[in-house]
Protein backbone atom coordinates (compact mmCIF):
# COMPACT_ATOMS: atom_id res chain seq x y z
CA UNK A 1 0.00 0.00 0.00
CA UNK A 2 1.19 3.52 -0.77
CA UNK A 3 -0.16 6.48 1.16
CA UNK A 4 0.24 10.09 0.15
CA UNK A 5 -0.31 12.69 2.85
CA UNK A 6 -0.61 16.36 1.94
CA UNK A 7 1.98 16.29 -0.86
CA UNK A 8 3.02 19.77 -1.91
CA UNK A 9 5.57 20.76 -4.52
CA UNK A 10 6.43 24.10 -6.09
CA UNK A 11 8.84 25.13 -8.82
CA UNK A 12 9.70 28.77 -8.25
CA UNK A 13 6.44 30.63 -7.71
CA UNK A 14 4.36 27.93 -9.36
CA UNK A 15 2.75 25.44 -6.99
CA UNK A 16 2.38 22.25 -9.00
CA UNK A 17 1.03 19.94 -6.28
CA UNK A 18 -1.35 21.46 -3.74
CA UNK A 19 -1.69 19.05 -0.86
CA UNK A 20 -2.44 15.69 -2.45
CA UNK A 21 -3.60 12.92 -0.13
CA UNK A 22 -4.78 9.43 -1.06
CA UNK A 23 -4.15 5.72 -0.66
CA UNK A 24 -3.13 3.28 -3.41
CA UNK A 25 -4.15 -0.16 -2.29
CA UNK A 26 -2.24 -3.40 -2.63
CA UNK A 27 -3.30 -5.77 -5.38
CA UNK A 28 -5.18 -3.05 -7.22
CA UNK A 29 -4.55 -1.12 -10.40
CA UNK A 30 -4.78 2.52 -9.33
CA UNK A 31 -5.06 5.12 -12.08
CA UNK A 32 -4.09 8.77 -11.94
CA UNK A 33 -5.74 10.57 -14.83
CA UNK A 34 -5.81 14.18 -15.87
CA UNK A 35 -4.92 16.62 -18.61
CA UNK A 36 -1.30 17.33 -19.56
CA UNK A 37 0.43 19.82 -17.28
CA UNK A 38 -1.83 19.19 -14.27
CA UNK A 39 0.86 17.55 -12.14
CA UNK A 40 0.63 13.81 -12.91
CA UNK A 41 4.27 13.39 -13.88
CA UNK A 42 5.58 15.55 -11.03
CA UNK A 43 3.50 13.53 -8.57
CA UNK A 44 4.91 10.29 -9.96
CA UNK A 45 8.46 11.63 -9.81
CA UNK A 46 7.87 12.64 -6.19
CA UNK A 47 6.53 9.18 -5.37
CA UNK A 48 9.59 7.40 -6.77
CA UNK A 49 12.03 9.92 -5.30
CA UNK A 50 13.24 11.59 -8.50
CA UNK A 51 11.87 14.90 -7.22
CA UNK A 52 11.84 15.88 -3.54
CA UNK A 53 8.53 17.05 -2.07
CA UNK A 54 8.34 20.42 -0.28
CA UNK A 55 5.85 19.14 2.27
CA UNK A 56 3.98 15.95 3.06
CA UNK A 57 4.72 12.25 3.39
CA UNK A 58 4.91 9.31 0.99
CA UNK A 59 4.48 6.10 2.93
CA UNK A 60 5.32 2.71 1.49
CA UNK A 61 3.78 0.11 3.82
CA UNK A 62 4.46 2.12 7.00
CA UNK A 63 7.88 3.36 5.85
CA UNK A 64 8.01 7.12 5.34
CA UNK A 65 9.98 7.48 2.10
CA UNK A 66 10.32 11.26 2.46
CA UNK A 67 12.25 10.94 5.73
CA UNK A 68 14.72 8.31 4.54
CA UNK A 69 18.36 8.87 3.57
CA UNK A 70 19.80 7.60 0.28
CA UNK A 71 20.74 4.15 1.61
CA UNK A 72 17.39 3.50 3.31
CA UNK A 73 15.62 4.60 0.16
CA UNK A 74 17.62 2.06 -1.77
CA UNK A 75 15.87 -0.73 0.14
CA UNK A 76 12.46 0.66 -0.82
CA UNK A 77 13.57 1.30 -4.38
CA UNK A 78 14.52 -2.33 -4.94
CA UNK A 79 10.81 -3.00 -4.33
CA UNK A 80 9.76 -0.47 -6.97
CA UNK A 81 9.40 -1.31 -10.64
CA UNK A 82 8.65 1.32 -13.22
CA UNK A 83 7.62 1.22 -16.85
CA UNK A 84 8.41 4.54 -18.52
CA UNK A 85 6.45 6.11 -21.35
CA UNK A 86 9.26 5.34 -23.80
CA UNK A 87 10.21 2.11 -21.96
CA UNK A 88 13.67 3.58 -21.12
CA UNK A 89 15.49 0.38 -22.07
CA UNK A 90 19.27 0.55 -21.98
CA UNK A 91 20.25 0.86 -25.64
CA UNK A 92 23.59 -0.86 -25.28
CA UNK A 93 22.07 -3.98 -23.73
CA UNK A 94 20.04 -6.83 -25.23
CA UNK A 95 16.54 -7.68 -23.99
CA UNK A 96 18.05 -10.34 -21.74
CA UNK A 97 20.70 -8.00 -20.31
CA UNK A 98 18.08 -5.32 -19.67
CA UNK A 99 15.96 -7.77 -17.70
CA UNK A 100 18.93 -9.19 -15.81
CA UNK A 101 20.36 -5.77 -14.96
CA UNK A 102 18.49 -5.35 -11.62
CA UNK A 103 19.38 -8.95 -10.71
CA UNK A 104 23.08 -8.30 -11.40
CA UNK A 105 23.03 -5.13 -9.34
CA UNK A 106 20.93 -6.22 -6.37
CA UNK A 107 21.00 -10.00 -6.01
CA UNK A 108 23.55 -12.76 -5.64
CA UNK A 109 21.89 -14.90 -8.30
CA UNK A 110 24.22 -17.13 -10.27
CA UNK A 111 24.16 -16.87 -14.05
CA UNK A 112 21.99 -20.00 -14.20
CA UNK A 113 19.48 -18.52 -11.76
CA UNK A 114 19.38 -15.26 -13.68
CA UNK A 115 18.82 -17.07 -16.97
CA UNK A 116 16.02 -19.16 -15.43
CA UNK A 117 14.27 -16.09 -14.02
CA UNK A 118 14.68 -14.27 -17.33
CA UNK A 119 13.04 -17.11 -19.24
CA UNK A 120 10.14 -17.11 -16.74
CA UNK A 121 9.57 -13.40 -17.12
CA UNK A 122 9.92 -13.42 -20.90
CA UNK A 123 7.26 -16.11 -21.04
CA UNK A 124 4.96 -14.03 -18.82
CA UNK A 125 5.25 -11.02 -21.12
CA UNK A 126 5.14 -13.09 -24.31
CA UNK A 127 8.66 -12.41 -25.52
CA UNK A 128 10.12 -15.90 -25.62
CA UNK A 129 13.10 -16.21 -27.93
CA UNK A 130 13.73 -12.47 -28.09
CA UNK A 131 16.57 -12.58 -25.55
CA UNK A 132 19.35 -11.47 -27.84
CA UNK A 133 17.59 -8.60 -29.59
CA UNK A 134 18.61 -5.02 -28.92
CA UNK A 135 16.01 -2.31 -28.14
CA UNK A 136 16.53 -0.80 -31.60
CA UNK A 137 15.29 -4.09 -33.11
CA UNK A 138 12.03 -4.12 -31.11
CA UNK A 139 8.60 -2.73 -31.97
CA UNK A 140 6.90 -0.24 -29.62
CA UNK A 141 4.80 -2.95 -27.98
CA UNK A 142 7.79 -5.24 -27.53
CA UNK A 143 9.75 -2.39 -25.92
CA UNK A 144 6.92 -1.84 -23.42
CA UNK A 145 6.77 -5.55 -22.65
CA UNK A 146 10.54 -5.65 -22.15
CA UNK A 147 10.23 -2.60 -19.88
CA UNK A 148 7.56 -4.41 -17.88
CA UNK A 149 9.72 -7.52 -17.74
CA UNK A 150 12.63 -5.48 -16.34
CA UNK A 151 10.28 -3.76 -13.88
CA UNK A 152 9.09 -7.06 -12.39
CA UNK A 153 12.49 -8.80 -12.45
CA UNK A 154 12.96 -8.49 -8.69
CA UNK A 155 9.33 -9.27 -7.74
CA UNK A 156 8.58 -5.68 -6.77
CA UNK A 157 5.82 -4.70 -4.35
CA UNK A 158 5.05 -1.48 -6.17
CA UNK A 159 4.71 -0.95 -9.91
CA UNK A 160 4.53 2.47 -11.57
CA UNK A 161 3.41 2.63 -15.18
CA UNK A 162 3.68 5.92 -17.07
CA UNK A 163 1.44 6.25 -20.12
CA UNK A 164 1.55 2.55 -21.01
CA UNK A 165 -0.29 2.96 -24.30
CA UNK A 166 1.26 6.06 -25.81
CA UNK A 167 2.26 5.41 -29.40
CA UNK A 168 0.68 1.96 -29.56
CA UNK A 169 -2.08 0.64 -31.81
CA UNK A 170 -5.41 -0.29 -30.12
CA UNK A 171 -4.78 -4.05 -30.09
CA UNK A 172 -1.28 -3.73 -28.64
CA UNK A 173 -2.63 -1.20 -26.12
CA UNK A 174 -5.20 -3.69 -24.88
CA UNK A 175 -2.53 -6.38 -24.69
CA UNK A 176 -0.31 -4.12 -22.53
CA UNK A 177 -3.30 -3.20 -20.34
CA UNK A 178 -4.12 -6.86 -19.78
CA UNK A 179 -0.49 -7.58 -19.03
CA UNK A 180 -0.43 -4.86 -16.36
CA UNK A 181 -3.61 -6.31 -14.86
CA UNK A 182 -2.28 -9.87 -14.98
CA UNK A 183 1.08 -8.99 -13.41
CA UNK A 184 -0.60 -6.93 -10.67
CA UNK A 185 -2.78 -9.90 -9.74
CA UNK A 186 0.05 -12.40 -10.02
CA UNK A 187 2.62 -10.48 -7.97
CA UNK A 188 0.05 -8.84 -5.62
CA UNK A 189 1.60 -5.46 -6.39
CA UNK A 190 0.37 -1.96 -5.68
CA UNK A 191 0.17 -0.66 -9.22
CA UNK A 192 -0.09 3.02 -10.07
CA UNK A 193 -0.81 3.88 -13.72
CA UNK A 194 -0.55 7.41 -15.07
CA UNK A 195 -2.63 7.74 -18.20
CA UNK A 196 -4.73 9.87 -20.50
CA UNK A 197 -6.21 6.84 -22.17
CA UNK A 198 -9.84 6.28 -21.18
CA UNK A 199 -9.87 2.87 -22.88
CA UNK A 200 -7.22 1.70 -20.40
CA UNK A 201 -9.16 3.16 -17.52
CA UNK A 202 -12.35 1.37 -18.52
CA UNK A 203 -10.39 -1.82 -19.25
CA UNK A 204 -8.36 -2.37 -16.07
CA UNK A 205 -8.75 0.39 -13.45
CA UNK A 206 -9.76 -0.54 -9.91
CA UNK A 207 -9.51 2.95 -8.48
CA UNK A 208 -9.24 6.23 -10.34
CA UNK A 209 -7.91 9.58 -9.12
CA UNK A 210 -8.56 12.60 -11.29
CA UNK A 211 -6.00 15.37 -10.93
CA UNK A 212 -6.67 18.97 -11.87
CA UNK A 213 -4.42 21.94 -11.17
CA UNK A 214 -2.32 19.95 -8.71
CA UNK A 215 -5.20 18.51 -6.68
CA UNK A 216 -7.17 15.29 -6.72
CA UNK A 217 -10.65 16.62 -7.43
CA UNK A 218 -12.38 13.29 -7.90
CA UNK A 219 -11.77 9.68 -6.75
CA UNK A 220 -13.81 6.64 -7.71
CA UNK A 221 -13.91 3.47 -9.78
CA UNK A 222 -14.52 2.74 -13.46
CA UNK A 223 -18.29 2.43 -13.04
CA UNK A 224 -18.71 5.62 -11.09
CA UNK A 225 -16.54 7.59 -13.53
CA UNK A 226 -19.20 7.19 -16.22
CA UNK A 227 -21.92 8.45 -13.87
CA UNK A 228 -19.97 11.29 -12.37
CA UNK A 229 -21.43 14.77 -12.59
CA UNK A 230 -18.11 16.49 -11.86
CA UNK A 231 -17.81 19.07 -14.66
CA UNK A 232 -14.01 18.92 -15.07
CA UNK A 233 -14.01 15.14 -15.04
CA UNK A 234 -16.87 15.02 -17.54
CA UNK A 235 -15.01 17.36 -19.87
CA UNK A 236 -11.96 15.11 -19.66
CA UNK A 237 -13.64 11.69 -19.88
CA UNK A 238 -16.19 12.56 -22.53
CA UNK A 239 -13.93 14.69 -24.68
CA UNK A 240 -14.27 12.29 -27.62
CA UNK A 241 -17.42 11.56 -29.62
CA UNK A 242 -16.86 7.85 -28.96
CA UNK A 243 -16.97 8.31 -25.18
CA UNK A 244 -20.04 10.56 -25.46
CA UNK A 245 -21.84 7.78 -27.35
CA UNK A 246 -20.86 5.29 -24.64
CA UNK A 247 -22.24 7.67 -22.04
CA UNK A 248 -25.54 7.96 -23.88
CA UNK A 249 -25.82 4.18 -24.09
CA UNK A 250 -24.81 3.83 -20.44
CA UNK A 251 -27.64 6.16 -19.45
Amino acid sequence: MIQLKDIQKSFGDTQVLKGISCTFETGKVNFIIGKSGEGKSVLTKCMVGLVEVDKGSIIYDDQDFTKMDRWDRKTVRTNIGMLFQGAALFDSMTVEENIQFPMVMFTKFTKGERDKRTEEILEQVGLQGKNKLFPSELSGGMKKRTGLARAIALNPKYLFVDEPNSGLDPLTSIMIDKLVRQLTDQYKMTTVVISHDMNSVIEIADTIHFISKGEFVWNGDRKSILKSQHPLLNDFVFASQFMREIKDKFK
Partner: protein
Protein backbone atom coordinates in the same frame (compact mmCIF):
# COMPACT_ATOMS: atom_id res chain seq x y z
CA UNK B 1 26.46 34.16 -11.82
CA UNK B 2 25.92 31.15 -14.11
CA UNK B 3 29.61 30.16 -13.96
CA UNK B 4 29.51 29.69 -10.18
CA UNK B 5 26.25 27.79 -10.48
CA UNK B 6 27.88 25.49 -13.05
CA UNK B 7 30.96 24.99 -10.87
CA UNK B 8 28.70 24.17 -7.93
CA UNK B 9 26.65 21.67 -9.90
CA UNK B 10 29.80 20.13 -11.37
CA UNK B 11 31.23 19.72 -7.84
CA UNK B 12 28.02 18.11 -6.57
CA UNK B 13 28.01 15.75 -9.54
CA UNK B 14 31.65 14.79 -8.90
CA UNK B 15 30.74 14.19 -5.25
CA UNK B 16 28.12 11.70 -6.41
CA UNK B 17 30.51 10.14 -8.94
CA UNK B 18 33.11 9.42 -6.26
CA UNK B 19 30.67 8.27 -3.57
CA UNK B 20 30.48 4.59 -2.64
CA UNK B 21 29.18 2.56 -5.60
CA UNK B 22 26.31 0.08 -5.21
CA UNK B 23 28.12 -2.98 -6.46
CA UNK B 24 31.83 -2.61 -6.96
CA UNK B 25 32.32 -5.90 -8.78
CA UNK B 26 30.47 -4.69 -11.91
CA UNK B 27 32.90 -1.80 -12.33
CA UNK B 28 35.98 -3.63 -13.72
CA UNK B 29 33.96 -4.82 -16.72
CA UNK B 30 32.64 -1.30 -17.31
CA UNK B 31 36.13 0.20 -17.03
CA UNK B 32 37.57 -2.28 -19.53
CA UNK B 33 34.74 -1.51 -21.97
CA UNK B 34 35.42 2.20 -21.63
CA UNK B 35 39.17 1.69 -22.10
CA UNK B 36 38.38 0.10 -25.42
CA UNK B 37 36.05 2.94 -26.46
CA UNK B 38 38.19 5.81 -25.20
CA UNK B 39 41.68 4.43 -25.72
CA UNK B 40 41.99 1.58 -28.18
CA UNK B 41 39.50 3.03 -30.63
CA UNK B 42 41.52 6.26 -30.69
CA UNK B 43 44.87 4.64 -31.49
CA UNK B 44 44.41 4.99 -35.26
CA UNK B 45 43.43 8.64 -35.36
CA UNK B 46 46.04 9.65 -32.76
CA UNK B 47 48.83 7.82 -34.60
CA UNK B 48 47.87 9.30 -37.94
CA UNK B 49 47.65 12.87 -36.68
CA UNK B 50 50.79 12.82 -34.59
CA UNK B 51 52.73 11.20 -37.43
CA UNK B 52 51.97 14.21 -39.63
CA UNK B 53 52.56 16.65 -36.76
CA UNK B 54 56.05 15.23 -36.31
CA UNK B 55 56.66 15.47 -40.05
CA UNK B 56 55.46 19.10 -40.21
CA UNK B 57 57.57 20.14 -37.20
CA UNK B 58 60.63 18.56 -38.83
CA UNK B 59 60.03 20.27 -42.18
CA UNK B 60 59.29 23.66 -40.59
CA UNK B 61 62.44 23.46 -38.47
CA UNK B 62 64.51 22.49 -41.49
CA UNK B 63 63.11 25.33 -43.57
CA UNK B 64 63.91 27.85 -40.82
CA UNK B 65 67.54 26.85 -40.45
CA UNK B 66 69.32 29.22 -42.77
CA UNK B 67 72.37 30.07 -40.75
CA UNK B 68 75.32 27.80 -41.16
CA UNK B 69 76.07 28.27 -37.47
CA UNK B 70 73.00 26.23 -36.51
CA UNK B 71 73.72 22.51 -36.80
CA UNK B 72 71.36 20.23 -38.77
CA UNK B 73 70.85 17.98 -35.75
CA UNK B 74 68.71 20.83 -34.35
CA UNK B 75 65.91 19.36 -36.50
CA UNK B 76 65.92 16.17 -34.41
CA UNK B 77 66.21 18.09 -31.17
CA UNK B 78 63.34 20.49 -31.96
CA UNK B 79 61.09 17.73 -33.25
CA UNK B 80 61.65 15.65 -30.12
CA UNK B 81 61.10 18.55 -27.74
CA UNK B 82 57.97 19.81 -29.51
CA UNK B 83 56.42 16.38 -29.70
CA UNK B 84 57.25 15.33 -26.15
CA UNK B 85 56.50 18.58 -24.36
CA UNK B 86 53.36 19.74 -26.11
CA UNK B 87 52.11 17.88 -29.15
CA UNK B 88 51.91 14.40 -27.64
CA UNK B 89 50.08 15.51 -24.51
CA UNK B 90 48.14 18.73 -25.06
CA UNK B 91 47.40 18.52 -28.76
CA UNK B 92 46.60 14.80 -28.61
CA UNK B 93 44.31 15.39 -25.62
CA UNK B 94 42.55 18.19 -27.50
CA UNK B 95 41.99 15.80 -30.40
CA UNK B 96 40.72 13.08 -28.08
CA UNK B 97 38.47 15.65 -26.39
CA UNK B 98 36.79 16.28 -29.70
CA UNK B 99 36.26 12.61 -30.40
CA UNK B 100 35.66 11.15 -26.95
CA UNK B 101 34.12 14.22 -25.32
CA UNK B 102 31.32 14.55 -27.86
CA UNK B 103 30.78 10.81 -27.73
CA UNK B 104 30.46 10.79 -23.93
CA UNK B 105 28.19 13.86 -23.82
CA UNK B 106 25.86 12.55 -26.51
CA UNK B 107 25.75 9.05 -25.00
CA UNK B 108 24.86 10.28 -21.51
CA UNK B 109 22.64 13.06 -22.88
CA UNK B 110 20.62 10.56 -24.90
CA UNK B 111 20.28 8.38 -21.82
CA UNK B 112 19.01 11.42 -19.92
CA UNK B 113 16.34 12.46 -22.42
CA UNK B 114 15.14 8.88 -22.93
CA UNK B 115 14.66 8.37 -19.15
CA UNK B 116 17.39 5.72 -18.92
CA UNK B 117 19.13 7.69 -16.15
CA UNK B 118 15.84 8.05 -14.27
CA UNK B 119 15.39 4.28 -14.64
CA UNK B 120 18.78 3.73 -12.98
CA UNK B 121 17.94 6.15 -10.16
CA UNK B 122 14.56 4.56 -9.51
CA UNK B 123 16.22 1.15 -9.24
CA UNK B 124 18.34 2.62 -6.44
CA UNK B 125 21.54 2.82 -8.48
CA UNK B 126 23.77 5.89 -8.18
CA UNK B 127 23.52 6.75 -11.88
CA UNK B 128 26.29 9.35 -11.72
CA UNK B 129 28.78 6.86 -10.34
CA UNK B 130 27.63 3.99 -12.54
CA UNK B 131 27.84 5.98 -15.78
CA UNK B 132 30.69 8.43 -15.20
CA UNK B 133 33.21 6.81 -12.84
CA UNK B 134 34.20 3.99 -15.27
CA UNK B 135 34.82 6.59 -18.00
CA UNK B 136 37.04 8.71 -15.75
CA UNK B 137 39.05 5.72 -14.48
CA UNK B 138 39.44 4.31 -18.00
CA UNK B 139 40.56 7.65 -19.47
CA UNK B 140 43.01 8.45 -16.68
CA UNK B 141 44.54 4.99 -17.08
CA UNK B 142 44.59 4.56 -20.87
CA UNK B 143 45.24 8.05 -22.27
CA UNK B 144 48.79 8.31 -20.84
CA UNK B 145 49.62 5.18 -22.88
CA UNK B 146 48.19 6.87 -25.96
CA UNK B 147 50.43 9.85 -25.23
CA UNK B 148 53.51 7.64 -24.92
CA UNK B 149 52.59 6.05 -28.24
CA UNK B 150 52.11 9.53 -29.72
CA UNK B 151 55.61 10.56 -28.58
CA UNK B 152 57.15 7.60 -30.35
CA UNK B 153 55.09 7.91 -33.55
CA UNK B 154 55.54 11.70 -33.71
CA UNK B 155 59.31 11.58 -33.45
CA UNK B 156 59.42 8.66 -35.88
CA UNK B 157 57.26 10.62 -38.33
CA UNK B 158 59.51 13.64 -38.06
CA UNK B 159 62.59 11.50 -38.56
CA UNK B 160 61.18 9.72 -41.60
CA UNK B 161 60.21 12.90 -43.41
CA UNK B 162 63.34 14.84 -42.49
CA UNK B 163 65.62 12.02 -43.60
CA UNK B 164 63.66 11.06 -46.73
CA UNK B 165 63.50 14.68 -47.88
CA UNK B 166 67.26 14.96 -47.52
CA UNK B 167 67.14 17.76 -44.95
CA UNK B 168 69.15 15.83 -42.41
CA UNK B 169 71.08 12.60 -42.20
CA UNK B 170 69.90 9.76 -39.97
CA UNK B 171 72.98 10.20 -37.76
CA UNK B 172 72.32 13.93 -37.30
CA UNK B 173 68.64 13.42 -36.52
CA UNK B 174 69.47 10.63 -34.09
CA UNK B 175 72.08 12.81 -32.40
CA UNK B 176 69.60 15.71 -32.08
CA UNK B 177 66.83 13.45 -30.84
CA UNK B 178 69.10 12.18 -28.07
CA UNK B 179 70.77 15.49 -27.27
CA UNK B 180 70.13 16.75 -23.71
CA UNK B 181 67.29 14.25 -23.27
CA UNK B 182 65.63 14.54 -19.86
CA UNK B 183 63.24 11.88 -18.68
CA UNK B 184 61.48 14.59 -16.66
CA UNK B 185 60.11 16.02 -19.93
CA UNK B 186 58.33 12.74 -20.59
CA UNK B 187 57.10 12.60 -16.98
CA UNK B 188 55.88 16.20 -17.23
CA UNK B 189 53.91 15.36 -20.32
CA UNK B 190 52.39 12.22 -18.79
CA UNK B 191 51.51 14.06 -15.56
CA UNK B 192 49.65 16.68 -17.59
CA UNK B 193 47.79 13.90 -19.36
CA UNK B 194 46.29 12.58 -16.10
CA UNK B 195 44.70 15.97 -15.51
CA UNK B 196 43.59 16.37 -19.12
CA UNK B 197 41.99 12.91 -19.14
CA UNK B 198 40.05 13.73 -15.98
CA UNK B 199 38.96 17.11 -17.37
CA UNK B 200 37.76 15.81 -20.74
CA UNK B 201 35.73 12.91 -19.29
CA UNK B 202 34.26 14.71 -16.28
CA UNK B 203 33.35 17.92 -18.13
CA UNK B 204 31.80 15.99 -21.04
CA UNK B 205 29.90 13.75 -18.63
CA UNK B 206 28.64 16.82 -16.75
CA UNK B 207 27.24 18.32 -19.93
CA UNK B 208 25.64 15.03 -20.96
CA UNK B 209 24.21 14.35 -17.50
CA UNK B 210 22.56 17.76 -17.31
CA UNK B 211 20.99 17.66 -20.76
CA UNK B 212 17.34 18.67 -20.80
CA UNK B 213 15.01 18.59 -23.76
CA UNK B 214 15.38 16.52 -26.91
CA UNK B 215 17.72 15.58 -29.74
CA UNK B 216 18.59 19.22 -30.45
CA UNK B 217 19.74 19.77 -26.87
CA UNK B 218 21.81 16.56 -26.99
CA UNK B 219 23.69 18.02 -29.96
CA UNK B 220 24.11 21.38 -28.25
CA UNK B 221 25.29 19.69 -25.05
CA UNK B 222 27.78 17.67 -27.04
CA UNK B 223 29.20 20.80 -28.67
CA UNK B 224 29.38 22.61 -25.32
CA UNK B 225 31.15 19.60 -23.82
CA UNK B 226 33.91 19.74 -26.43
CA UNK B 227 34.31 23.53 -26.27
CA UNK B 228 34.46 23.65 -22.46
CA UNK B 229 36.80 20.64 -22.30
CA UNK B 230 39.21 22.26 -24.75
CA UNK B 231 39.20 25.62 -22.97
CA UNK B 232 39.70 24.06 -19.53
CA UNK B 233 42.46 21.78 -20.86
CA UNK B 234 44.31 24.80 -22.28
CA UNK B 235 43.98 26.73 -19.00
CA UNK B 236 45.13 23.65 -17.07
CA UNK B 237 48.05 23.26 -19.52
CA UNK B 238 49.18 26.79 -18.72
CA UNK B 239 48.87 26.29 -14.96
CA UNK B 240 50.55 22.88 -14.95
CA UNK B 241 53.40 24.15 -17.12
CA UNK B 242 53.97 27.02 -14.69
CA UNK B 243 53.90 24.58 -11.81
CA UNK B 244 56.00 21.75 -13.27
CA UNK B 245 58.53 23.43 -15.56
CA UNK B 246 59.38 26.72 -13.87
Amino acid sequence: MPIFSSIGRYSILMGRVFSRPEKFRVYPTLVIREMDKIGLQSVGIVSLLVLFMGAVVAIQTASNIESGWIPRWTIGYTTRQSIILEFSSTVVCLIISGKVGSNIASEIGTMRISDQIDALDIMGINSASYLILPKIIAAVFIIPFLVLLAMFVGVAGGASIAILSGNVSFADFEYGAQYDFRIWDVAYSVIKTFFFAFIMTSVSSYHGYNTQGGALEVGQGSTRAVVYSIVIILVADFLLTQLLLL
